[in-house]
Symmetry: C2
Subunit: 137 residues, 2 copies
Amino acid sequence: MRIGELAKQVDMSTDALRYYEQQGLLSAPQRSASGYRQYGGKHMAQLRFIRRAKDVGFSLEEIAELLKINFEKAEHSCQEVKDLTLKKRDLVAQRIAELQRFHASLSQLAEQCCGSSAPAQHCSILTALEDIDGLNQ
Amino acid sequence: MRIGELAKQVDMSTDALRYYEQQGLLSAPQRSASGYRQYGGKHMAQLRFIRRAKDVGFSLEEIAELLKINFEKAEHSCQEVKDLTLKKRDLVAQRIAELQRFHASLSQLAEQCCGSSAPAQHCSILTALEDIDGLNQ
DNA sequence: ATAAACCTTAGAGTTAACACTAAGGTCAAG
DNA sequence: CTTGACCTTAGTGTTAACTCTAAGGTTTAT
């Protein structure tokens, strides 16, 4: 299977596949006499692993780590994998908390604003952003 | 007031101030005979506006838009400002939802994992990422 | 045999919001 | 009068995950 075919199968771009190979996420396949990459089922499995790991929020760097562990299962523990997962979950939780603060502030601003089509001379949102104590306190 | 002093007052870097000026977020100040930037209260107010807008999650591009509206209040409506705010809030909400899906998936993975210090030969997390139907469905 | 569709590499471009560097000019203090 | 802290510009580097481009070689179908 050449790169275009594999890309179609897993619904990724050929550029992405070359990029994953370059980043060590996808094994370098054999080459045909003319230099074309020749992929097999192993590569498809790797790409599916990558896809699923992306779907749960892991970055490519984290996925590389997971793939390495998966490849050397005997030398790593469940604990290690679980720790990676929990650490990632906590990072995600932190980011969610930050965004929720944004969301609350934006909601509050919008609520206070009349939203009229008249000139924004006394717009409460602009005022809040201008004034020292327009927000919180 | 020179750039270093202003930067200290608002707790931003001098690099950031020059960057904001270049991006049209901070008015270009007068220059001294030797070319030094000379700032006044107006600039401090602009920077505080930027700071507050950042604190509620607006990007610099969005802040530029808000500053422009704030500068030309007469030509814009409250509605316009409110729309920007609501649009941003909805984007934030979408991102939160995505991260919450990540969080749920990661929690589920972690929950299923024994987390033992024994080799990861049968780690449920790795299995879930490998298997076609390890996750969801 | 030729055109379309595919493949190759290397390298530049994208986004956001700055940080850092170099090479040099200026200002205040002692 | 010199040292150190400050300022200037222009340009490069950072991170993530690719995308795009150029310039060319290969395969397949007709």
